[in-house]
Symmetry: C2
Subunit: 222 residues, 2 copies
Amino acid sequence: MPSDRSNRPDISQRILEAATRLFARHGFVGASLRDIAKAVGIRKPSLLYHFPSKDELRRGVLDQMLAHWNDVVPKILRAATAGPEQFDAIGAEILRFFRDDPDRGRLLLRELLDRPDELAPLLALRVQPWAKIVCDYIRKGQEHGRIQPDVDPEAYVIQVINLVLCGFATHGSIRSLVAGGSDDVEAGERLLTEMMRVAKASLFLPSAIAVPTRGATGTDAN
Amino acid sequence: MPSDRSNRPDISQRILEAATRLFARHGFVGASLRDIAKAVGIRKPSLLYHFPSKDELRRGVLDQMLAHWNDVVPKILRAATAGPEQFDAIGAEILRFFRDDPDRGRLLLRELLDRPDELAPLLALRVQPWAKIVCDYIRKGQEHGRIQPDVDPEAYVIQVINLVLCGFATHGSIRSLVAGGSDDVEAGERLLTEMMRVAKASLFLPSAIAVPTRGATGTDAN
DNA sequence: GCGGGTCTCTACCACTCGGTAGACGGGGCG
DNA sequence: CGCCCCGTCTACCGAGTGGTAGAGACCCGC
């Protein structure tokens, strides 16, 4: 009877999308299967036919998001092994991932708050290798005097993760706090720009960030 | 009958403490009144006698935390209006607030995710004035050539908030991601140190941060 | 036509939720 | 003593939860 259901782009996929949105918005316990099913346009038992339990659905949502993340990792690795000034490229790829769907940040942050022990192994699988690359890059930059010598690579990576995760998750809710006057999209752009600036200015030596051609070494402690 | 209940440090206060912990750990919907009551050692109706509804309890928890925050604000303002090198003092006060009870960060972050519209006015009241002081301080530092000219003060403050909130909220869950080898408390210290370093290095000009007297060792050796 | 999947549905289950009614007990006070 | 208030309790409520049973509708190969 419902003809509009004929143009279905895979029901399971539509369920995953609705679940992603509602889990990110209201949390895992706060989003009911009925609500998710309603968002898709079906009833709850139909949903449970595709995902036999709510927990299975949650796993599906996480799997899909981390699979998407897996698509961007190669780009990051390629950028990181290409040239010296790949920071912007890496940052752009990461930002794009979260900007494509801000629910990703919210979802990750919620999982980090709610079920850290279950998320940890997944992250270890998905971001550990990438983080290692970045750490190596930082250490090499430190040897070459391009990166500030007092950067703690592992800890720095975590700070950037915090910056990005929290930045996207609270996007729009916290930015009205201080940014006051400006409209939404402009305020969002200012926050993203500053996010990148903070990450960059706390990593590179100013001589490396300001003038690419100049070879003068500024502060050389060791 | 229960003699251990005679040494009660105000039942309402004990309820608030248990609720703070459970809300922060499992979220507002994830923590049931029964669980909170059990943590206090009473039954649910007794809890509802002191806080007539769950939402009232939530408001009480938030009020108490923001009241505690109110205790640190004067210290921050005093530090901010005292001398030029007050950054460390401000940072120390903020860090102490969250370190005293890591549940505060988790709770704030959860509220930011779950009920941003309700938290916004509270934050506007509690952190807006403080943030304004910091922004003024940044602008003055920019005029005096002590702070990097491309810092966006309002956006920078939000980045630092993100850094601190997410840093404490995911403390211990995300740090195992990269820090790998080191034990828990040492890893935590490394993260805090790096958090401060990132905030500082992305704010001050290196000339202001590195050398008060040329040739001496770094000032930020903590 | 017919049997078997695939998929959705209605109706129901046990359970937990936040919240209420009302009884019980104790302490202070007249 | 009687009275009252305070605080806690057991028992219960309606609503909503995740999940199940089982009936139907559709489609496809036989």
